[in-house]
Amino acid sequence: MVDLRETAAGMAAALAEGRVTSVQLTEAHLDRIAAVDGDVHAFLHVDRDGALAQAAASDERRAAGGAASTLDGVPIAVKDVMATRGLPTTCGSRILEGWVPPYDATVVERLRAAGLPILGKTNMDEFAMGSSTEHSAYGATHNPWDLDRIPGGSGGGSAAAVAAFEAPLAIGTDTGGSIRQPGAVTGTVGVKPTYGGVSRYGLVALANSLDQAGPVTRTVLDAALLHEIIGGHDPRDSTSIQQPVPSLVDAAREGATGDLRGVRIGVVRELGGEGYQDGVLARFRESVDVMVAAGAEVVEVSCPSFVHALAAYYLILPAEASSNLAKFDAMRYGLRVLPEGDPSPSAEEVMRATRDAGFGDEVKRRIILGTYALSSGYYDAYYGQAQKVRTLITRDFDAAFEHADVLVSPTAPTTAFRLGEKLDDPLAMYLNDLATIPANLAGVPGISVPNGLAGEDGLPSGLQVLAPALADDRVYRVGAAVEALLEKEWGGPLLDKAPSLEGASR
């Protein structure tokens, strides 16, 4: 009997003890997807046959006594920004509609080697530009807590899939908060590892110096188990960190005892207050109280340059993105559109027509902004300055980590807003990433852990925990402690309070 609400660690234990097979587990999740994904729209592509074949192979391995990893046989969903050999990879864009990569991203290769059946590809804002998945060319994902609301973004599909029990695990990518913010607004766990901690090979780049793939799960321990599988040095990514991943599973287990004695927690003064919803701030203060009760020492730290993080980010990101997206030129792969009324168009004209037809509004906005920021005469004033601010933000982190082992803040300033509410107001949309962006600019790791429901709307909020670069184990320890202590108060996981989604609501 398959319990879809079981944790991935629990499913792995059931597989190891022979209480369930991977085929049963995978089939149950595929059935759940068939039942509820019409409402949630977390998936852009479901690979039923492939997943079941991988599950059968996993069962054979386990029967022969040779599990490939702890999570061998536990199914997973992969964000559509990761190249998957033989499976469509669109990045939520028309320009890549129908593209089937001839190779696997390193993360995907490691998932396959570890025996995790891949259920399918999850929805996202086009090329990961957005905080709501509404910028997907294939339609928005709906938040399982309230189908009229956004699931966060850009990785709203991965977070919603996990929150709706369509998958026990998922892969996300986080450039400015795209793992953590969806985690916060869907009541799930998301981790952005230290920059370079997980290979970017085969991840379709948005902004190379900011992008980082990581786990999207329902519990902190599940995230640690997955992180240990996908993390570690990859010679095919020259920015990959050449040292072993710290023991994250041990850190999560240590944290789960709920003991935070000796841990110094820094509350970042600049990440709270104005612009933050009351209910989100109330849950945040409670989380801090819980950590204090568990023995943590709390200090307030100031990171004055964080107020400029959003501006720096919206110069650096478009600059890198406009260069990266230049490869979509209608020549080697992806869409090719011929301009109307020209019997013999030039390559450049085909390129222009294709990029107009293939890119959505947000992608066009950012390409143009990036082209502007990089253009001669403005480069020093915008891109150059943004890179200096990046230095200041890193220095703020360094100073703060002299007084605290980890820093905490609300993950997102608000709970999930209504679909359509900010779609054509780019600046309002960008503000969702206020608290998550500094970590990307400095390359430090961060986690979002569910920390309750906001009083005014009954929707989930998240606690963000940040640690120094390479100290990913700290976010797992503190995240697991907060999770354990809060679940004790609630009498179970936060997702127990979410609607069950029977699939007939629409």
Binding site: V100, T239, A330, E349, T391, L427
Partner: protein, 103 residues
């Protein structure tokens, strides 16, 4: 360094779209130009933040060039590399004419 106007005109957007090889329609220009001005205004303040002595950061972690041994490793076959091409011919990408009519 020129003064950095915190707005961007419709003509400038058209010029930038041209540089970025995107055919924007008139309706798109009308829609995007004011939005880009709003975004630009909000990021323009960054000019005054960092003094000249602050070094720029291009990358979050200090890294130097990474090399691997020069050995042959498996790679894509020509068929695989061409599998996503809009058009191919004789194991090559087939592209529209590169030169102008008058060339």
């Amino acid at each position: 360094m020129p003064d950095t106007p915190a707005t961007i005109t419709r003509d400038e957007v058209a010029h930038l779209a041209n540089l970025a090889r995107i055919d924007l329609s008139d309706a798109e220009l009308d829609h995007l130009a004011p939005q880009l001005s709003v975004i630009l205004e909000s990021v323009a303040a960054i000019n005054e933040v960092a003094s000249a002595d602050v070094p720029p950061t291009s990358h979050p972690l200090p890294l130097t060039n990474v090399f691997r041994d020069d050995v042959v490793t498996p790679c894509l076959t020509a068929e695989e590399a061409l599998s996503g091409a809009p058009e191919s011919e004789q194991q090559r990408f087939s592209v529209p004419r590169i030169l102008g009519e008058e060339a």
